[in-house]
């Protein structure tokens, strides 16, 4: 083996340019495919590992007869009336209604000026259902939801900005001139994708301030995200009875039976609403868990998928190139192989010798490729995309990288080494 390594070293020394060309080609191929694969892997990751199959997103079809086509996908969000009614029915283990919003935070400190913050209006179960980690305090209670309490849960970054490390729980944060009592401070939390509301950006950061939905309606805070209305709304599209969908509704259902029962409940609720004249279409409900939901919404940008395909096609060309060059290089040494074979080397020995040489090229390319992948991810992090800051190699991707490097170098080396091993011993000794 050591002898083969030494032979490989000599061979590289004879053809420095050709060898480094092969190494660079493999490295480029592996570097680009690892970069794009890492981005794809991060963007299609599971936001709540271990729980994403038990959290379900609810859709109903509350629209009028106008433009009705049977079997069509209902709206992605719920009306305020339906969301509040389902929330009050409490038919699931946990349920929360939610929507995004924004406001101006007034730090009430001379040295800090006011700034815009992203808000989320939701209900108490949001935090337990999504396993949101708290640094201090905890969620508000359902009683506070009912009482439209002026309470808030804020992100750690905001707490640090506003209170300089002093415990924020019990203090107040002023949003759009309303004082809210802070009951909890979140630990850093960034589910990827931002699955619970894809309208505000699929890879957005989590909002800075959470407050009860009921409170946000009483204070008439501004909403953000998407809103769809299907008939004249009059003065307010966010009123309780407005024909507009703008609220997301999530439930936790621990078993398939519970999910089936909840689906039945949604159908019977739709029928009830149809009888009451609110719904004019036959029941058309959807209940998708997090995985199904992200799949259905195709959150991973199609450009990122395209880039991954492109990178692997590029890797294929690089490998093809290396196979061709290795083959040429090995067969050029047919005379040397012939002599070794005539002196008693077995085919297996020749195969091993050339596989070691090819393996060295592949390994060098793989290691260099890993370096290029680091560089590539650094470039991705400099991009102004929402997901840019996520682009890091983790243990899984590092392992994948090594497997890819080894696999591609063996693919590139196997065929030329096999061809070299088939060189007949006698023929090459003849003078040409």
């Amino acid at each position: 083996m050591l002898y083969y390594l030494d032979l490989a070293r000599r061979s590289f020394a004879r053809n420095r340019v050709l060898t480094s060309l092969m190494v660079v080609a493999i490295a480029l191929g592996i570097g680009t495919s690892m970069t794009t694969l890492t981005v794809l892997y991060l963007l299609s990751s599971d936001p709540l590992p271990g729980k994403s199959d038990r959290l379900y997103h609810v859709q109903l079809d509350p629209m009028g007869k106008e433009g009705y086509h049977p079997g069509e996908e209902p709206h992605l969000q719920l009306t305020r009336y339906d969301a509040e009614t389902l929330w009050r029915a409490r038919r699931a283990k946990h349920q929360a209604l939610m929507t995004g919003g924004y406001g101006v935070a007034d730090p009430q400190r001379a040295e800090l000026s006011s700034f815009r913050v992203d808000l989320r209006y939701t209900s108490a179960d949001f935090f337990t259902m999504f396993d949101v980690p708290f640094a201090r305090g905890g969620p508000w209670s359902e009683r506070e939801d009912d009482a439209r309490a002026r309470v808030a849960v804020i992100a750690k970054e905001l707490a640090e900005k506003l209170f300089d490390g002093v415990d924020a729980v019990g203090r107040t944060v002023r949003i759009d001139q309303h004082d809210l009592v802070i009951v909890g401070v979140l630990e850093r939390w960034r589910p990827t994708p931002h699955f619970y509301d894809l309208h505000t950006g699929a890879y957005d950061e989590v909002e800075q301030v959470f407050l009860p939905f009921s409170t946000s309606r009483e204070l008439e805070l501004e909403r953000s995200g998407s809103i769809d209305c299907w008939s004249e709304t009059g003065p307010a599209s966010t009123g309780l009875h407005a024909p507009c969908v703008w609220i997301q509704f999530w439930t936790q259902l621990d078993s398939p039976d519970e999910a089936a029962a909840y689906r039945d409940f949604l159908v019977s609720y739709s029928e009830e609403q149809q009888r009451a004249g609110r719904f004019q279409r036959p029941p058309n409900v959807r209940l998708r868990n997090v995985t199904e939901w992200l799949d259905f919404r195709q959150v991973v940008p199609s450009d990122v998928r395209l880039q991954t395909w492109l990178a692997f096609a590029f890797l294929a060309v690089c490998l093809l190139n290396t196979v061709g060059l290795l083959l040429a290089k090995f067969l050029r040494r047919s005379r040397e192989i012939g002599v070794r074979r005539a002196l008693g080397a077995s085919r297996r020995a020749i195969f091993a010798q050339f596989l070691v040489e090819a393996g060295c090229v592949g390994l060098a390319g793989g290691v260099l490729g890993l370096g290029l992948a680091w560089l590539g991810l650094w470039v991705v992090r400099q991009q102004p995309e929402q997901y840019a800051s996520l682009a890091h190699l983790d243990a899984t991707m590092l392992a994948t990288n090594f497997v890819l490097a080894i696999a591609s170098s063996s693919i590139a080396g196997l065929f030329p080494a096999w061809r070299a091993a088939r060189v007949p011993p006698a023929l090459q000794l003849k003078s040409q």
């Binding site: 299907w230 008939s231 003065p235 990178a311 096609a313 060059l325």
Partner: protein, 405 residues
């Protein structure tokens, strides 16, 4: 020169020849498709927006006092802004082109619920001089008169107060193909509005429903209700943009309680809007360049190997009277042959890849004029790559033939 000797030589090295042909085919297919993708992205980025892109500034402002009269605050802000030297026009606007929010509604031809002729449009609401500030161009009809403007609150409370609107040519063609849209009635919700003007173009801020919807927008003579965050649009001379933007932001921050959330030129917003396309286009160009270089280097490697292996034969040919030029042409022709087979395969592959892209990414069919791009780039890079080894082959002295190896 005949192909005979070349073909028989290639036949002896069919594996290596097949590998290089395959590499050329892959590269050709990828380069053709990549060039098509790049040109699609560039076309997207060059779509006209219908507004005076190089003259517009956008201020996103917050900190209005909700208690006092909302419209008065906007009026005062606009007056302050228009007094700044260099400012040509100012307006408040609910949404801005390439901005991050879009206000959409559905317009239709009648109130009949079974009416299928309906179009989702984005609605521009703003202060009366929004039209001049954006620099919109009418294809037909007229701009709103001051009397036609109403307050948003009034418009919502009594829907029938909005009696006229301006639509883009794209909306007109959707609703009344081949006819004049002027004077036609269309319905928003359950009230009718009359088309008084048709714009050449006006882009909508979002493309959620796909690129074909990019030009579906309408302008309503409605002064928007004050939001906690509002947009002010300023039109100025292109070369004074930075100076005016800084002055305008400073002037607004001096107003009681006001806060400028964001200040941009419209060009900056446009660049941000297309950053994904730009990144994708540059990536594709970089990958194409890398592919061509790697393929060319592969050709160099293989050709040098063949030249070395055939040194004796080259010597014999030279000794038998072949000129240097004939030796060079032999290798050039050989490369041309390999490249041509590769390109022919590559074109089939290009259509295959395009078919896949069409299914998965809703891409258009690859127009035939992109195929020569891939072909030409490979013929050229192949000839360039083989030139070095071919010249080395030509320099083999005829005397080599007499030596035994």
């Amino acid at each position: 020169m005949s192909f005979g000797p070349i073909l028989s030589a290639l036949h002896r090295h069919r594996t290596a020849a097949a590998l290089i042909v395959l590499e050329i085919a892959f590269t050709c297919a990828m380069v053709s498709n990549a060039f098509f993708l790049v040109s699609e992205r560039l076309n997207r980025m060059n779509r006209p927006s219908g507004v005076a892109e190089s003259e517009l500034l956008v201020l996103q402002v917050t900190g209005f006092d909700k208690t006092s009269k909302a419209q008065a605050q906007t009026q005062e802000d606009l007056a302050v802004l228009s007094a700044i030297p260099g400012v040509r026009e100012v307006a408040s606007s609910r949404q801005v082109p390439f901005g991050d929010s879009s206000w959409n509604t559905t317009v239709k031809l009648s109130q009949d619920p079974t009416q299928e002729s309906r179009v989702n449009v984005s609605t521009y609401l703003g202060s009366p001089n929004l039209f001049e500030t954006l620099g919109l161009k009418l294809a037909a009809g007229r701009d709103f008169t001051r009397e036609e403007y109403v307050e948003e609150a009034d418009a919502l409370a009594t829907p029938n107060t909005t009696r006229s609107l301006i639509i883009t040519r794209a909306v007109a063609e959707r609703l009344w193909p081949g006819q004049s849209a002027l004077g036609q009635i269309l319905y928003m919700g359950n009230y009718g509005v009359r088309v008084i003007g048709v714009l050449e173009q006006l882009v909508r801020p979002d493309e959620l429903s796909g690129p074909t919807h990019f030009e579906l927008s309408v302008v309503l003579p409605v002064r928007p209700q004050l939001k906690p965050v509002d947009n002010y649009l300023i039109r100025t001379e292109p070369e004074r943009r930075q100076e005016v933007l800084a002055a305008a932001a400073a002037a607004i921050e001096r107003r009681p309680g006001r806060l400028v959330v964001r200040q941009n030129t419209l060009e900056e917003l446009k660049n941000k809007y297309y950053r994904g396309d730009r990144a994708m286009a540059s990536l594709l160009v970089a990958v194409c360049a890398a592919l061509l270089i790697i393929t060319a280097l592969g050709i160099v490697g293989l050709a040098s190997f063949w030249v070395q292996q055939r040194t004796r034969q080259i010597g014999i040919r030279r000794a038998l009277g072949a000129t240097r030029g004939q030796i060079v042409r032999y290798f050039q022709l050989e490369n041309f042959l390999l490249a041509t087979i590769g390109i022919a395969l590559g074109m089939l592959l290009a259509y295959g890849i395009n078919q896949l892209l069409m299914e998965r990414y809703e891409l258009a069919r690859l127009p035939a004029q992109y195929l020569p791009v891939g072909a030409l780039s490979l013929w050229l890079s192949g000839q360039l790559a083989v030139l070095g080894p071919a010249l080395r082959a030509a320099s083999v002295p005829p005397a080599v033939a007499t030596r035994s190896v």
